[in-house]
């Protein structure tokens, strides 16, 4: 996860690249919880109704929510706001977490005539909106005849075809415990995303608290240091990286098989292993 957006597209005109950036920006703005006037913020306040795009994304999220036994939950937004990861990260009291948990649980979210009718709940799609943005960016490229490209949204990457010389795109997975690369993937027409405990965290009294919260406990998940998923789409890779990071190895292996993806996990000692084959 990072803050840059890079597109390498062979044969694309500047005009086409502009459209690619515009589409990625549209999605980023639409689902930004930080912006009060964004679509997702207004949806959460019950001001607007669900549109087709968001309905589709929530359906996808629902499937993952069920498959992960709640480890992946779009209503985790309430907890994220409490911990303040996007503004002032701090350790909330157990009471505050208990209170926030009353407003977490996708199964309890109600829509009436398309409008959110569950006050206090906060829908947060940021765990896979970036990956979705990468997919949409790639769609703009392929619809315009580009068959060799790489889109990289701060570490969420999808590649179209292979490089012009016929070789696959080479993507490294960052070492979660220090500098360097822990693995190199050779990809064609696939996507990779990583969730790691080093992206957004703070340390208090010698304990590291990171932003990948378990919606069931309210605290950061501790199974892994990082999870990287290779999938057909970046939305799937992004969502599953988050889901498996929280769900743990057993459930993670199940999900890897169910969704036909490749999963690499780095344990607390930093060692990388593959959770499932493709």
């Amino acid at each position: 996860m990072g803050t840059y957006f890079t597109v390498k597209a062979y044969g694309a005109s500047p005009g086409l690249l502009d459209r690619v950036f515009k589409e990625a920006e549209r999605i980023s703005e639409k689902y930004s919880l930080e912006k009060e006037g964004s679509y997702i913020s207004r949806l959460n306040r019950g001001e607007v109704s669900l549109d087709g795009e968001t309905r589709w994304l929530l359906d996808f999220a629902r499937g993952l929510w069920k498959a992960s036994d709640g480890a992946f939950d779009p209503t985790v937004g309430r907890l994220k706001i409490l911990w303040g990861f996007n503004k002032k990260p701090h350790l909330p009291s157990p009471e505050a977490i208990k209170e926030a948990l009353k407003f977490v649980g996708f199964g309890r979210v109600k829509f009436v005539e398309g409008k959110l009718q569950s006050p206090g709940f906060v829908l947060d799609l940021s765990s896979f909106a970036k990956g979705y943005g990468v997919d949409r960016a790639c769609e703009v490229l392929t619809k315009n005849g580009i068959n060799s490209a790489l889109v990289d949204a701060g570490g969420d990457i999808r590649v179209i075809g292979e490089k012009p010389d016929g070789s696959p795109w080479r993507i490294g997975i960052k070492n979660p415990s220090g500098p360097g690369i822990i693995k190199v993937l050779s990809l064609r027409n696939s996507a990779v995303a990583t969730s790691g405990d080093y992206e957004n965290f703070f340390v208090k009294d010698g304990v590291k608290y990171h932003h990948l919260l378990d919606p069931r406990t309210g605290y950061p998940a501790r199974w892994f240091k990082s999870v990287s998923v290779v999938a057909d789409t970046c939305m799937m890779a992004d969502a599953l990286a988050t889901a498996i990071f929280v769900a743990g190895p057993e459930k993670g292996k199940e999900m890897a098989e169910k969704y036909h993806v490749m999963v690499f996990v780095a344990g607390q000692k930093g060692n990388l292993r593959e959770l499932s084959g493709r």
Partner: protein, 221 residues
């Protein structure tokens, strides 16, 4: 060279030859005495633009009382030995060119080590070798590839970012933003980068500096 100096050198050389960092032979070693090795190493890391160290053993960790890597950039192994009696501060650098007095060549970087007086600890810093140095850095301004900088030669470069000027420094195969017109100077605080996965970003200037040459097209993190 008196007996003590020779001893220091011998121990250092032994340390260097008895050790390999990830299969590569270490390039050089810096040996000095210090009364406060932790502070000296911190200062060295700062001057050098970041040294990540890995303590050699329990004893070294005990002596240094540090609990994790600090700084980034060049890899280094550190050995610290407590001496029987304080020895006059001394510095020796053993590199590919042989034994040098670093104060002459790297005045700013190592001069502070000789101001300590007497030191009770003998510190050996063994530098990781840069076997295949990165060829060049790429500077992107406003999303477009603006400049390519050869990292094999030390130098200073001035670039015009979206907001103002930035000064880039290339030294020892690495590059950093030495100065920037921006307010927060996050880019400057990033320090030197040398690995292809590292980037220096200045958002106000819309500048991204990255290293080419790894054969990788992207990093997932």
């Amino acid at each position: 060279m008196n007996r003590r100096e020779f001893l220091a050198l011998a121990i250092g050389a032994l340390g260097a030859s008895a050790f390999k960092i990830k299969g590569k032979n270490a390039r050089g070693s810096l040996i000095f005495t210090s009364s406060n090795p932790a502070e000296a190493l911190k200062r060295l890391a700062h001057e050098e633009g970041g040294i990540k160290y890995i303590p050699a053993d329990e004893e070294t960790r005990r002596l240094l009382r540090l609990s994790g890597p600090w700084g980034r950039g060049k890899g280094a192994l550190v050995f610290v030995r407590e001496l029987d009696a304080p020895v006059p501060a001394n510095i020796t650098y053993t590199g590919p060119g042989g034994i040098e007095d670093p104060r002459r060549k790297y005045k700013k970087t190592y001069a502070f080590l000789s101001r300590e007086g007497k030191g009770k600890y003998l510190v050996t810093v063994v530098f990781e070798s840069r076997s295949k140095g990165p060829a060049r850095a790429v500077v992107e301004i406003n999303g477009r590839r603006a400049k390519e900088i050869d990292l094999k030669e030390d130098g200073i470069y001035r670039i015009e970012g979206a907001q103002g000027e930035m000064v880039l420094e290339v030294k020892g195969g690495r590059i950093r933003a030495a100065e920037s017109s921006c307010e927060k100077k996050i880019c400057v605080h990033t320090g030197f980068i040398s690995s292809p996965h590292e980037k220096i970003v200045c958002i106000p200037n819309r500048v991204v500096i990255s290293i080419e040459g790894s054969g990788l097209d992207g990093i997932s993190f």
